[in-house]
Symmetry: C2
Subunit: 224 residues, 2 copies
């Protein structure tokens, strides 16, 4: 499949690299590809994009617009605060009618403690859907760390649960198929896109569990 | 142990009944015990308190103040919106120095969708702690339905996780011991009471999972 991955951070790289390995044609988009490639390593991001790209030559690095143009299916792996703008700069005409896998989280640490910049009455996924009414937004994977998103078998043999939320049933089915190709087996459809409010608020709890465990490589299994 | 359970709803009854069964001396408190006993059944609450009490004669039904006076350990099982007032009417002098197991949730459906009446900067547990600085508030059990709180083995053989949050290490240890007596084995200490913000925001996600499963009797197991 031709897939456009928007965002070149840890999440974008994990997704793009995994999709490349599965044989998809992947274009990764950023606001300014040259600047992204020249960015030095940091504490949050110890591997530079250039270093990552050395091992993933099959992934093309282009602008948001070119990645969106390329993809039959798009993945929003940009920072939550920048997601709507990133998609706008990609252009609605390149997004309309396509499934958009939204992995972003509306995290906001500006007040000195973890919060979300959305309220109880709207998720970031719905905000994206509202900005692009003809996109088929599917919220998923935002509840696990990047390495677990693309390799669920790396945690507890894969015996844990991932969620999909979205208004378009066909898009959810297509995204679920992609998730299965990553190794996910327990995929729970939480319902329409408003259920993404739950999947995003979940992060407030995830952050504390991560701090307690001292490790982001965990997930939840729904025991029933 | 002498335990005071504040609240006579589904949660209060589940906790009080289980504690009675384990041999504790339990007093259940409400604002107006006579009114609570006279309340008819409703859709939310198909069993009346009077019917419940017929099968649990060992639990005394008294006022909030009398239940608090009785308990060496207290359980806040009141509605979240009414919790601080319920504890105020019990009287700080009857609460000070005691472990207070806080099971309440700051749920708010007044806007027509699920929300919390707290913000990202304070949990209801912290609000209670602030109102009663000498109490030893321990947040726990708010992440599962009443029947699972007191009988974790009824779901997936008990192989799932419960959380405790609180500033007082000894109170958390004491409450964890009580949880073990209920059948809990995977008890994760999320840290100080501010981590209750995560355990309460979790409800926004729990509500959607419950709707999807059509059943409240589930929980999560932390897979790591």
């Amino acid at each position: 499949m031709r897939i456009g991955v928007l965002g070149t951070g840890v999440v974008g790289r994990a997704i793009a690299g995994r999709l490349e390995g599965l044989g998809h044609e992947v274009v990764m988009g950023s606001r300014d590809p040259a600047a992204a490639l020249g960015r030095p390593a940091s504490g949050w991001d110890p591997q530079t994009l250039a270093e990552w790209h050395d091992g993933h030559g099959g992934v093309r690095l282009e602008t948001f617009a070119e990645a969106a143009e390329h993809g039959e299916l798009l993945v929003n792996a940009t920072n939550g605060a920048a997601s709507v703008e990133a998609l706008r700069s990609a252009g609605a005409e390149r997004i309309n009618g396509k499934a958009v896998v939204d992995i972003s989280n509306p995290l906001d640490f500006s007040a000195g403690h973890p919060g979300l910049f959305t309220g109880w009455d709207e998720s970031l996924a719905e905000r994206i859907q509202r900005a692009f009414p003809r996109a088929k937004v599917v919220k998923t994977l935002n509840t696990v760390t990047a390495s677990v998103m693309v390799d669920p078998l790396s945690v507890a043999g894969g015996d844990h649960t991932i969620f999909v939320c979205g208004d378009d049933v066909d898009a959810k089915a297509r995204v679920s198929e992609l998730l299965r190709s990553f190794g996910w087996s327990d995929i729970l459809d939480l319902g329409d896109l408003s259920s993404a409010r739950g999947a995003e608020a979940y992060l407030m709890w995830w952050i504390r569990v991560r701090a307690t465990l001292g490790d982001a490589r965990f997930n939840v299994k729904i025991a029933r």
